[in-house]
């Protein structure tokens, strides 16, 4: 073998090694990302033994009247009220487990939630809450108060709720109810039956 061939061969070997390294590195990363995306186990109405759970009351609608109807749900208990409130909102978006009507479009995603020292919860939803909303005064009131009541009813640190869309203040959901201020809960809208 002359020197040229030796150099060519070693270059080829080196390139192969680099390619192999990149291939395994990337596939490893994909595997990690996929693991993170795995859906969380569904929350059942029965409290599983492994994790500490807590009961929350969420508010939906039903065809028979225009009141908000409570539905109980178990969520994973967490020392952080923010974490628990996020779980509660995720459950509210998933919809009723007992055939009640949901007041949030199923496509809605919770972007972020935080609670100020003054007790105002800022709940940031994806634009689907606006784009997929049926509009109408009653529809907007239902959406606002199923969110506001579901948060204030279950979480003591939350006194008022400010609804945001993709990080920004929004005038209304569909041209009716003003979203430019934090909402106090209105428990008079809840069915007393």
């Amino acid at each position: 073998m002359d020197t040229r061939k030796v150099i060519l061969l070693s270059v080829l070997v080196f390139l192969l090694a680099v390619l192999a390294f990149l291939f395994f590195k990337n596939s490893g990363r994909e595997r990690i990302e996929k693991a993170e995306e795995l859906p969380k186990p569904p929350v059942s109405t029965e409290a599983p033994a492994e994790k500490a759970m807590r009961k929350v009351t969420l508010f939906f609608l039903r065809e028979e009247d225009s009141k908000l109807i409570p539905e109980e749900r178990w969520i994973v208990s967490d020392p952080s009220a923010v974490r628990e409130a996020e779980e509660a909102m995720a459950e509210l978006i998933k919809g009723s487990q007992t055939g009640l009507v949901s007041s949030l479009p199923a496509e809605t995603k919770l972007v972020q939630l935080f609670i100020t020292k003054e007790g105002v919860a800022y709940v940031d939803f994806s634009k689907d809450l606006v784009d997929k909303h049926p509009s109408g005064s009653t529809a907007e009131i239902s959406t606002v108060y199923s969110i506001v009541n579901s948060l204030a009813y279950n979480f003591k640190p939350i006194k008022k709720v400010f609804i945001l869309i993709e990080g920004e203040e929004r005038e209304t959901l569909g041209g009716h109810i003003s979203l430019d201020h934090p909402f106090l809960p209105d428990y008079s809208l809840i069915s007393r039956e």
């Binding site: 609608l61 049926p134 109408g136 005038e171 009716h176 106090l184 209105d186």
Partner: protein, 258 residues
């Protein structure tokens, strides 16, 4: 930070709101011309409002009813009528209340057809403004309503225009009582004329009512999201009865104050 801006502005907004009311009242008393009623056909243009199963759009029904109501008022009552829109165009919420305030409106009627996630939801209702204020804010408001004349004296003329713009934000809070009375009169007539389910008078923080500096209500005539009521809403004679009901309510309300 921007997220908290509204919260920070809320307090000063409350403090200033009474001033615009005093200023606009001064404007009204200065003119001897025919008084103005502003009718607001809900939605329009790119913003259709609620949609019916058969494709009916809220914006078209509200405009049709508004034209009929305008005609009834102008034929029978000594009032000038201004519409916030007379064709299928976008009008911002702020502009709708500004049209009322710039015309020194004595009454503001916003016309809508309702929508719900519940297919069976039906009936008619009349809304007036609710600020959803905390107890502390309610006390502040009550205090300011009582001391508005005092506050007015403290504003220098050169600042008035600027103040007026800011104050529109919460102008409606001084007219809640009259607005609830107006809502009651109109709701009674809707029940008589339409025979739709009586959903009563209700309070909610409507964006379009918030800045209006006169008694103001929002009528929700039937549910466009309910196929049966959608069929009613598209009929000319039903729309005419809606206009007649609102007209009767307005007439009775104006009699209470003349």
């Amino acid at each position: 930070m921007a997220k908290r801006r509204a919260q920070i502005l809320y307090g000063p907004g409350l403090v200033l709101l009474v001033l615009v009311l005093a200023l606009s009242a001064a404007g009204v008393s200065g003119s001897k011309e025919m008084k103005t009623i502003v009718i607001d056909p809900g939605h329009g243009g790119m913003e259709p409002g609620a949609k019916g199963k058969f494709g009916t759009l809220e914006k078209n029904i509200t405009l049709a009813i508004s034209f009929k109501l305008k005609a009834l008022i102008e034929q029978n009552l000594p009032y000038r009528v201004v519409l916030t829109r007379d064709k299928d165009i976008d009008v911002s919420m702020d502009n709708r209340s500004a049209i009322a305030n710039n015309n020194d409106a004595v009454l503001f009627v916003s016309i809508h057809t309702n929508g719900s996630q519940r297919k069976k939801a039906q009936g008619s209702e009349t809304f007036f403004m609710n600020l959803n204020a905390s107890d502390e804010e309610t006390r502040k408001l009550a205090y300011m309503e009582n001391t508005s004349a005092e506050l007015e004296k403290q504003i220098e003329d050169k600042n008035k225009d600027e103040v007026k713009m800011i104050l529109w934000d919460m102008a409606q809070s001084a007219y809640i009582k009259q607005s609830s009375q107006l809502a009651e009169e109109i709701q009674k007539e809707l029940n008589i004329f339409l025979g739709t389910e009586n959903r009563g008078i209700k309070q909610a923080p409507f964006k379009v009512l918030k800045g209006v500096a006169c008694p103001a209500i929002l009528v929700e005539v039937a549910f466009i999201s309910n196929p049966e009521e959608e069929q009613k809403l598209i009929k000319d004679d039903f729309q005419q009865r809606v206009a007649a009901a609102i007209y009767q309510g307005l007439k009775k309300y104006t009699k209470l104050f003349s």
